[in-house]
């Protein structure tokens, strides 16, 4: 058996992988988001309300929180259709802050004093299964018609559109499904921590998710997974250098951006398409 510390680290690792994948999908369509913490909060609170107040089974609550966060993602995605780059980052950041301030003031879910007594339904097995399902989804997506369309949109939006790809649908789908995955991450997080408050889903959380994807490599979902492993485990390993660990970590990030701007796994290489008879 593994001790409680290790188990907790692994659960957090799993949740971070889920969150990283939630951003990797919109990023693969060229949409950057600094608001994943907001979708995570929506998922966390939705699932917590369902299980704690209404006794809904945990898996069903996770499903509902995915749908809720996904719908919010589509709603935020609409204005995101027209803007890109830094402006999109600011828009999503603003969205994240709106969600945080909403839950900070929303009395029914405890407002500033937080939401406690959430059943600890998140198990290591549950997180593991979620990660595996998502990895399978992303692996299948890569070599599919829609996966290629998403990549085309990232590479050259105008050319993709002229090739007959409906930008609206592809972008909204990537943003919405990404938000839904973030909602799942939030639900898992809430049922592990058992207590949530708005501060846990603020800008620092969105920023952390962004850094994970940046660190691992913006080009692929593998990069997101590797980034999640690195960003979750490094601070744990670096405990030996005590209070300097975050400084060291920050320095490492700066160094990465200078020498490996494509992230740990580097620039993705083109994939081979099998021959058919």
């Amino acid at each position: 058996m593994i001790d409680q510390y290790t188990e907790s680290v692994l659960v957090f690792l799993g949740i971070n992988i889920v969150l990283a994948l939630s951003l990797a999908l919109p990023v693969s369509a060229g949409l950057l988001s600094l608001g994943q913490g907001g979708f995570m909060a929506i998922g966390a609170y939705t699932a917590a309300i369902l299980t704690t107040w209404y006794g809904v089974p945990f898996p069903a609550a996770v499903g509902v929180s995915a749908v809720t966060a996904g719908l919010c993602g589509v709603a935020v995605g609409f204005p995101a259709l027209r803007i890109r780059g830094v402006y999109l980052l600011i828009l999503t950041m603003g969205f994240g802050e709106i969600v945080r301030i909403f839950f900070l003031n929303f009395e029914p879910t405890g407002a500033a004093s937080g939401f406690g007594g959430i059943p600890q339904a998140t198990t290591l097995g549950g997180v593991g299964v979620t990660v595996l399902v998502l990895l399978a989804f992303f692996a299948q997506l890569r070599d599919s018609r829609i996966g290629r369309a998403i990549e085309a949109v990232r590479e050259d939006e105008l050319a993709a559109e002229v090739m007959g790809i409906d930008l609206t649908r592809v972008k909204l789908a990537a943003f919405g499904i990404g938000a839904a995955i973030a909602g799942v991450g939030g639900a898992l997080y809430a049922h592990h921590a058992s207590f949530i408050d708005s501060a846990q889903f603020g800008f620092h959380r969105s920023g952390e998710i962004f850094i994970i994807v940046l660190f691992g490599g913006m080009g692929s979902f593998r990069g997101a997974v590797i980034g999640a492993v690195a960003v979750t485990l490094l601070p744990e390993i670096l405990r030996v250098i005590q209070e300097w660990r975050m400084t060291f970590f920050g320095t490492l990030l700066v160094a990465m951006m200078i020498w490996r701007p494509w992230g740990l796994i580097g620039k993705p290489r083109p994939r081979l398409v099998p021959r058919v008879g």
Binding site: S144, R145, A152, E155, M163, D166, A173, L272, P274
Partner: protein
């Protein structure tokens, strides 16, 4: 097949295309020529829906396509290449062509997920076969798995053509297909254009050197400063005094 009725495009105070009427007859190779800045590329951007016209009407095959989004126009049967080459650079040749088949194939997230990972899906099998066939047509069969940005300029132009053909067009717009090519390469390009026409696809192309289009085109439209100054068979256009003065005169 394609009719432009008094189409105008203004950028601020600058009129890039002024009051242009144009008819492209089915089965023809139609060239739009003119000096740099004559409005040829703007005209293509209007036809393909990349830019909305300021005034005028565009009719394709009986449908008023004015103001349609580019993906809808492509699905309706108009494909184009880019003079400036806008390939998906980090993808292989065949992947580029496969993206072109997007609007002629089906399958979204559900289809992507619901297949066996070690087998190529039924739809994808058809897409790959079609893409390979088009690569062979443009002579890039051997560069199938080469990343687009590792191809030579001429190969990239050919790949643009294959990618556009993959969208299943009835009208193909080629934006300066011979730009930057040597005389031999231009001959190859012209042969390819004729092969495309043999497949029943109408071709509208731009060019700024008149000599290049003389032998392939059935009909030539001459633009200068956004206005149509002449139109007709290559021989007629070549002798047109206004064309000689405004265009060839400045050129030689």
């Amino acid at each position: 097949m394609l009719a432009l009725e008094r189409v105008t495009k203004e950028f601020g105070g600058f009129t890039a295309v002024a009051d242009v009427d144009l008819r492209v007859e089915p089965g023809t190779i139609h060239a739009v020529i003119g000096p740099n800045g004559a409005g040829k590329t703007t005209l293509f951007n209007l036809i393909s829906g990349v830019l909305p016209p300021t005034a005028g009407r565009l009719v394709f095959d009986g449908d008023d396509i004015t103001g349609w989004r580019p993906d809808r126009i492509t699905a309706r049967g108009v494909a184009r290449t880019f003079q400036t080459l806008r390939l998906f650079r980090s993808m292989t040749s065949i992947e580029n062509v496969m993206i072109g088949t997007h609007c002629r194939s089906t399958g979204g997230f559900v289809a992507a997920t619901a297949r066996l990972p070690w087998r190529v899906g039924r739809g994808d099998r058809e897409t790959i076969r079609r893409a390979d066939e088009l690569l062979d047509l443009v002579g890039l069969g051997g560069k199938r798995d080469t990343a687009a940005d590792e191809l030579t300029l001429v190969e990239q132009r050919r790949l643009e053509v294959a990618r556009a053909l993959a969208t299943g067009p009835r009208l193909l717009l080629l934006d300066e297909p011979a730009a930057g090519m040597t005389p031999t390469e231009i001959k190859d390009a012209n042969r390819l254009i004729q092969r495309i026409r043999q497949r029943g696809i109408t071709v509208l192309l731009t060019e700024h050197h008149m000599s290049v289009v003389m032998e392939v085109s059935d009909r030539i439209t001459v633009l200068n400063y956004g206005r149509k100054i002449a139109e007709g068979a290559p021989e007629t256009v070549r002798r047109d005094p206004e064309v000689l003065a405004a265009y060839l005169g400045a050129d030689t």
